[in-house]
């Protein structure tokens, strides 16, 4: 059960433990973290689960599909380390990962 840290845009940090096989989006919703919306329930259709992955962790993650990248272009404040968290499935290799949340998902 990997533990990750999500940091809201105002600096508030949340540590949360998710289950292997669960998406980071779902783990964040379960923990009531403000700043992740997940409107489409993980169908890669809404881009409201955007987060910035800490630079040290970007390379650990699986590469993104075109759909995710295309969507991120229109997420607010896209950066090189932007990802849609519904497309990131938790496993032990992500234990300790840090992600920052954008000010808004819309």
């Amino acid at each position: 059960m990997p533990t990750i840290t999500l940091i809201e845009s105002n600096g508030t940090e949340h540590m949360l433990t998710g289950q292997n096989g669960q998406s980071i989006m779902q783990a964040a919703l379960n923990a009531m973290i403000p700043g992740i919306q997940g409107d489409c329930g993980g169908a890669c259709s809404c881009a409201t689960c955007h987060a910035f992955v800490d630079e040290n962790w970007v390379s650990v993650l699986p590469k993104m599909e075109d759909t995710e990248s295309d969507m991120l272009d229109f997420a607010s404040e896209r950066q090189d380390n932007s990802r849609l968290t519904c497309q990131l499935t938790l496993d032990e290799s992500m234990d300790g990962m840090v992600l920052r949340l954008p000010e808004s998902q819309y």
Binding site: M32, G41, D73
Partner: protein, 410 residues
């Protein structure tokens, strides 16, 4: 005085989200969430997609785990609400108990329009609305050889795309083309072609006389033209009917659903209605009474009601949007693509990566994006605020919706 209790009838997409958003917004009063389905509140879209393919586990359909409801002090009542006693502000349950409310939110959703045909009760005939439906259907898909889908709408075609991987699939529809009520002709054609390439056979402009069976099990579907298609599995998706009985018996106004104002309030100021069951004046549909069946509509309306109950009212103006995944095609629609008079196509339809922009009297009203999620999001942003995109601008050589959105950001 702040509110001390909110009762929600219907623990689906909209009902659950009201409860979650109230707690997220700091609401400390009592929340009772009444739902007549046995499971934890769950999402429906995967039922006709990833769940049917076995790609998503049952427990991952739930919006939240059971512990969430305890931790957040959301009382989940698995029962049917049978009466709203407006005088005494309470909801009567089937088990005879009652649940008091200060504010009531109706999120009762809709049920499948029944086939209403001879043979509809035969074994092997399914609708897809609930998790129970999907659980009954998915083993049948694995063994089916001849599948007939009645209704070429979103759910029927999502299912057809899955069934055709292992069976012969025929799709019958009264209309002229796929998803005719919701999308442009050009988009329909590309979806039809893609389904055909995968092996699906369409029968348009065609009704159904009856389902035929043997020893209680379906064996075929007799079309209006008299031909019988062999079938060991029949799935229908011919639209839904809003669940309004509870509201109408309580004297709430009904008009193609429970009638609400732009604050999503019924004619009783202590009762809101949201989601598939609510008919609201939609600013993206010239203010016409509109009922929308989609997850984003349910979510946005739930959040709007929660915000109002938390003391931050604002009229509901969210841009309607929707998605459907069918085989290799992802379609995302922003805005309402009904009643448009002009379209502009971006990209080549043959490439299956293209978008149709819909205009009404020169005004941009909707974008249908097929495998072009960037166009969807750009279009949604443009629809949400001025300046307006005109059909003249969009028709210009080399027009790019995404660039236009970036250039015109506030």
């Amino acid at each position: 005085m702040s509110l001390s209790s909110v009762t929600i009838v219907g623990a689906g997409q909209a009902g659950f989200q009201v409860a979650a958003s109230l707690r997220q917004g700091g609401f400390e009063g009592k929340i009772s969430l009444i739902g007549d389905e046995p499971d934890l509140p769950y999402q429906r879209p995967p039922l006709s997609k990833a769940y049917m393919l076995g790609k998503i586990k049952r427990e991952n359909l739930a919006f939240r785990p059971e512990t969430f409801f305890q931790e957040q002090n959301i009382e989940l009542i698995h029962d049917t609400a049978v009466e709203i006693d407006r005088q005494n502000r309470r909801v009567v349950l089937k088990n005879g108990e009652a649940c008091d409310y200060e504010h009531l939110v109706l999120a009762t959703g809709a049920h499948n329009r029944p086939l209403a045909l001879p043979g509809e009760d035969l074994n092997g005939v399914f609708g897809i609305k609930t998790l129970a439906d999907a659980d009954a259907l998915s083993p049948a898909v694995k063994t089916a050889r001849n599948v007939v889908v009645i209704g070429a709408g979103f759910i029927g075609l999502e299912f057809a795309a899955i069934a055709v991987q292992s069976a012969n699939v025929h799709v019958i529809d009264m209309g002229q083309r796929a998803m005719a009520r919701a999308i442009s002709q050009e988009m329909s054609e590309v979806f039809e072609d893609t389904h055909r390439e995968c092996g699906v056979t369409f029968h348009f402009n065609q009704g159904v006389n009856r389902l035929v069976g043997n020893q209680g099990k379906v064996t075929g579907v007799e079309k209006a033209d008299g031909e019988t298609l062999e079938a060991d599995l029949v799935v229908y998706g011919i639209g839904v009917i809003p669940n309004i009985t509870l509201a109408s018996e309580a004297g709430l106004h009904i008009e193609n659903g429970i009638k609400v104002d732009s604050d999503l309030l019924t004619n009783d100021p202590q009762i809101s209605a949201i989601g598939d069951v609510a008919c609201f004046p939609c600013v993206h549909n010239e203010g016409q009474p509109t009922r929308i069946e989609s997850v984003p509509n349910a979510m946005d309306q739930a959040r709007a009601v929660a915000a109002r109950l938390l003391g931050n009212p604002s009229p509901f103006t969210s841009v309607p949007w929707f998605w459907t995944d069918q085989g290799s095609l992802k379609l995302q629609i922003a805005g309402l693509s009904t009643g448009f008079d002009t379209t502009v196509t971006l990209g080549a339809p043959e490439s299956r990566q293209f978008s149709v922009l819909c205009f009404r009297k020169g005004h941009f009203v909707a974008v249908e994006a097929c495998n072009r999620p960037g166009d969807h999001l750009a279009g949604k942003k443009i629809l949400a605020r001025p300046p307006e995109l005109t059909s003249t601008e969009a028709s210009a050589e080399g027009f790019d919706l995404r660039e236009w959105e970036k250039e015109h950001r506030g």
